[in-house]
């Protein structure tokens, strides 16, 4: 049993960066890009207005599923003010974010797969003209039957939405078994089987996607775009435009929110690039909010079945998870999402035997993809709600149950994920303390309740999206004689603070002010590659690259200054914009002078740094999804008030503790935690990417229920509760100054904690997200009628699962390979095949 009074670890929050001699790291600071943002001077993609600029609009399919028989653009071309009309024939090459699913076209050639699929583009002098000309394009469609959800996809193999995939309209099967799970269930005292549904939802960034492309005077292409992944966009543009990558420059403008929704290369980006090249004038597009809903790539709707065996003391003996995942109309990141839905269950609690089966199907809806937490919030919801049920049945406090089963640090899990520091226990103890959990849980009056949940998330994907052995992030530093330092890096500022991380790390190492650092980021011409702002990778990976580059620069400066001051270079300190003798601090030179000395001695001073994640022990097929240098941990307690008549839910307060490793800039870290709580409450309580199929006898329509910011309900500031954020700091040697991620992990515990709190308040289980008043009212009616007080799915359809790859876990002598992978030659060869066919 845990001891609630146990002292926190020596290096947890409050230990103070100053004690370790840091002047920037750990000090709450105004972010370096804060001034531009609050004064409205940040230039987002839609802020670009260039001379002679034309405007682009996309004609999108009004049918959910159809063949294109013929497109006639002649009327649109003849419309006054129209410069250009493009169709699929102008951009026939396929692309897609993953090498295994190159299934998109910038403009559909002959097959539209959802309402909103782009069919043609009009470029005109005015945006209004382009819009009007869309109606002048005549498209002859042959209507096809539609698929609205995975159950339909499983039972309707024809017509196929795509000609590739596992079979029929199944995009991807995953079947993995780590140890004999049936044996695990045989050893259990109790078996729990629960079915959950997690509704899809979308990112809802305030900034709509926008892009401006120009043909440079020398004939090359430059595109400014609100993208999280300029490097991957660079590759897609080179492929589809059939241009040498050296002739393409992608500049990721600061994103007004991304959350994963700007991580794919998008049709509108390719279209304006093509149009700019053809017209030799700047071409701009800014999507409408409706179009952002059609780009989507948001949270997959997932039906889940959890079967978990436990001992009476709560020890897990085995877990079997099945997921049925609605992928929408395209692959996007979906193969990775399907693996992710089963990857991280083992990272929080010890699960000695684990089996995962996942199935992603296509449907005639906008494609799903990565949203904050990519693939993992759905199973985390199921796992954490089921744990709450397990704790109740075993009569163990849910916090105590979790403390008993938390996985140990530096472990290799059953599915061969190598964990770094694990401070989940400390997170749990902290939220238990600050929320006064022990006096609240099961003790609040009827209608009020508290719920707890935990989570883990990767600090950067351990493998790139396309197979290569190169670094995941690179940084170049340029030292100016005037004392300034320029940072060049492909990392993309999407509001998460990546620029500030780079500036902060460089400034700390070199003893200067972060505002003395000039940043050139997200530009494929200027900076070395960073793979992008996804998978919570930038702080650790770009941060480590920046740290290495800064250390190398510091070494050069130190050598030159040591000669000048005639002291051993090991004695030099860099602080306060000076380089000085630590034994005699008044003996020193200014930082600018140090650069001059170094430049005089070594020539122009520029250094580089790069970062490549450690090799993963997961060698089996699919083992590429889940590994990370280290994982963050979170624990949250949510309090709710539920009206027993109407089911209305109010959240007055949330407590959350996050194992951050080290907070490089605590202001930004807290912002990310609070932002995660906000987004998590939206998913928990109201957000739904819902679709409407009109009566089939009357209509063929299958449409997004309401693609607007008004009716897609996301919380406002008035709906935001008080949030108490506790940062657990135990530096992880794998992160720069010990930092781990914070951009995604703290979102994950919120949804299950809300559902668990509703149960504590009124005694009904809502095994579904979102948890709405309607569902609570229905479950309360069930309770009053003496039936199971629950709202949620009751069945999991039959799926023809393939034989699972059997990978013995480390404690059964496994080496990370499957023992029955007949398709596999060498482990390395297969991994290459999975990642880059």
């Amino acid at each position: 049993m845990s001891d609630q009074n146990e002292k926190p670890k020596s290096s947890v929050a409050g230990s103070g960066s100053n004690r370790e001699g840091f002047r920037v790291i750990g000090v709450p600071r105004r972010r370096v890009d804060g001034r531009a943002k609050v004064t409205g001077q940040t230039r987002f993609a839609d802020d670009f207005f260039l001379p002679r600029m034309a405007h682009c609009k996309l004609l999108r399919s009004v049918h959910p599923h159809a063949r294109i028989r013929r497109i006639d653009v002649s009327r649109a071309m003849a419309h006054p003010g129209v410069y250009l009309v493009l169709t699929g024939k102008d951009l026939p090459l396929q692309y897609g974010i993953l090498p295994v699913s190159q299934d998109e076209q910038a403009l559909c050639l002959d097959h539209v797969r959802h309402v909103g699929d782009p069919v043609a583009a009009v470029v005109a002098r005015e945006e209004l003209t382009a819009f009007e000309a869309l109606d002048l394009i005549d498209v002859d469609y042959e209507i096809l039957p539609t698929i609205a959800d995975p159950e339909e996809a499983l039972t309707t193999p024809e017509p196929r939405i795509h000609e590739y995939g596992e079979e029929g309209n199944v995009h991807k099967f995953v079947a993995l078994e780590f140890g004999d799970v049936e044996q695990g269930f045989a050893e259990a005292d109790e078996i729990f089987e629960d079915t959950f549904f997690y509704q899809g939802n979308t990112h809802l960034p305030i900034e709509q996607h926008a892009s401006v492309a120009i043909k440079d005077p020398d004939g090359k292409l430059t595109i400014w775009s609100s993208t999280q992944t300029p490097h991957y966009l660079h590759r897609a543009l080179a492929k589809v435009l059939e241009m040498p990558p050296a002739h393409i420059r992608v500049i990721a403008t600061p994103n007004g929110g991304g959350f994963g929704g700007k991580s794919d290369p998008f049709h509108h980006e390719i279209v304006v690039a093509k149009a700019a090249l053809l017209l030799d004038r700047p071409v701009k597009i800014c999507l409408t909010r409706e179009e952002v809903f059609y780009c989507h790539r948001g949270r997959h709707p997932v039906l889940m079945r959890f079967k978990t065996g436990v001992k009476k003391d709560g020890t897990i003996t085995g877990m079997h998870l099945r997921t049925l995942i609605d992928g929408g109309a395209y692959g996007s990141y979906g193969v990775a999402s399907t693996y992710y839905a089963g990857a991280l269950q083992t990272t929080t609690y010890r699960i000695p035997r684990y089996r995962y089966e996942g199935c992603r199907t296509f449907s005639n809806k906008p494609p799903c993809g990565p949203k904050r937490g990519h693939g993992t919030p759905q199973p985390r919801f199921g796992q954490e709600v089921q744990l709450d049920k397990i704790a109740e049945r075993l009569r163990i406090d849910p916090a105590d149950l979790r403390l008993r089963i938390v996985e140990a640090p530096n472990t290799v899990t059953a599915n061969f994920l190598r964990l770094g520091t694990v401070n989940l226990s400390e997170c749990i103890r902290r939220v238990v303390k600050v929320s006064d959990w022990k006096t609240k849980f099961r003790r609040l009056p009827e209608g009020r309740g508290v719920g707890m949940a935990c989570s883990a998330y990767l600090t950067g994907a351990g493998l790139p999206i396309y197979w290569n052995k190169m670094p995941h992030s690179g940084v170049q530093l340029k030292f100016d004689r005037g004392g300034g330092v320029s940072v060049f890096c492909g990392a993309t500022e999407i509001g998460q603070g990546s620029d500030d991380v780079l500036a902060g790390i460089v400034a700390e190492v070199l003893g200067i002010d972060p505002l003395d650092v000039r940043l050139f980021t997200g530009d494929t011409d200027l900076g070395p590659v960073d793979l992008g702002s996804y998978s919570s990778r930038v702080t650790l990976m770009a941060g480590n690259a920046a740290l290495q580059a800064a250390d190398r620069g510091k070494a050069l400066l130190a050598e030159a200054v040591a000669l000048k001051l005639e002291v051993p270079k090991e004695r030099l300190r860099f602080a306060g914009k000076r380089v000085f003798d630590s034994a005699a601090p008044d003996q020193g030179v200014s930082f600018a002078e140090a650069i001059c000395l170094a430049e005089a001695r070594f020539g122009t001073i520029g250094t580089v740094g790069s970062y490549t994640p450690p090799k993963s022990p997961a060698l089996y097929k699919g083992g590429g999804v889940g590994p990370s240098p280290t994982y963050s941990y979170s624990a949250a307690v949510v309090e709710v008030e539920v009206n027993p008549v109407t089911g209305w839910i109010h959240v007055p307060k949330v407590w959350i503790a996050h194992d951050i490793g080290r907070a490089l800039n605590p202001t930004l870290v807290r912002g990310q935690v609070e932002g995660s709580v906000y987004m998590g409450l939206g998913e928990a309580l109201m957000e739904e990417q819902e679709f409407r199929r009109l009566p089939k006898r009357l209509s063929h329509a299958l449409v997004h229920k309401f693609p607007s910011m008004l009716e897609y309900k996301s919380p406002t500031s008035l709906d935001m509760p008080q949030v108490v954020t506790e940062l657990i700091e135990d530096p992880d040697p794998r992160g720069p100054f010990g930092a781990k991620e914070v951009g995604q992990g703290p979102l994950l515990p919120i949804m299950p904690a809300v559902a668990n709190a509703v149960y504590d308040a009124v005694g009904v289980r809502i095994d579904e997200v979102p948890v709405t008043p309607e569902k609570v009212m229905k479950a309360l009616a069930e309770k009053r009628a003496g039936r199971e007080p629950r709202f949620g799915p009751d069945h999991f359809p039959r799926v023809n699962w393939p034989e699972a790859l059997r990978v013995p876990p480390p404690w059964e002598g496994g080496d990370g390979n499957a023992v029955n992978d007949v398709h596999r030659g060498t482990p390395r060869a297969m991994k290459e095949k999975v990642l880059a066919p």
Partner: protein
Amino acid sequence: MMRLPLFEFRAPQTVAEAVRILDGEGPTAMPLAGGTDLLPNMKRRQQVPKTLVSLKHIQDLPRVELSDSGSRLGACVTLSEIAADPRFRNGMTALAQAASFVATPQIRNMATLGGNLCLDTRCNYYDQNYEWRKSIGFCLKKDGDICWVAPGSAKCMAVSSSDTAPALMALGARVRLVSHSGEREVPLTELYQNDGIHYIQRQPKELLTEVLLESLRGWKSTYWKLRRRGSFDFPVLSVAAAVLLSYKGIVREARIVVGSAACLPLVAAEAARSLVGRPLDQESIAQAATLAARMAKPLDNTDFDMTWRKRVTAEFVTYALRELRGDDLRGERLLLTRHSSSL
């Protein structure tokens, strides 16, 4: 972004000039007050007037005259002004609350009382952009021939979504409609019709110039609004109630209006009558709530599940009447609306 269609813009200085333009242009002209409803609708091509007649330069329209014997509220008084003005209290509390719950602060700064009374009816199948409506084959209210909410219905089922209309109906308001050929006064309870397209009796050539209120001395009123979030959202159910109580707490007169549950605000006359001569006790409130809730017939064309909206109606009537009785419902208000103040 979505662009406005081209239109002719007129900016008359007087009501007479405005109604002359409306008369001359016919139904293709529309008055433009705050524009917070009309302009987004134009961007979505739900409404495509050829001429917009701006009311901004007409000096009389934002005028407010309040007195104990009766009040006149100009059509162009903004919702922010009504929400902020402490004179809109006691008898007129329902109006101030309704105004303060509309949309967002920025929208209330622009939106006008007259505009909110004339607010276009709303529906999940109609309040969509042009391409979306095209993908369902349009609907009865605009460009189509079917009501997707009720495919068997010959009439449009779009929902009255004004906050101030039910509040002012509970206060017994009348409105003045001015046209080139004359003017008329209409009780607000007679302004609306049970038809999502022809929801208002105002003729296209008429201008709603002011709201008239008789003395509200001794009256107490309140407004309760159901919406998902604490801001932005239109009501998907509302209850406005006003009572005149005797010094012993006996109901002498009562008015209850249920909003956003049909094409027009519903006057719950039977429910109101059931209260007269009785104190606002548990029994009378429960009876009135049941009677009023019986009228609500929400359909699946707004936020929230329609059966749930129906089932919580009685609860909302109860909140309103309990508050008029003097119960402290700030806690319930905070939970439901994220606003603790009942003004």
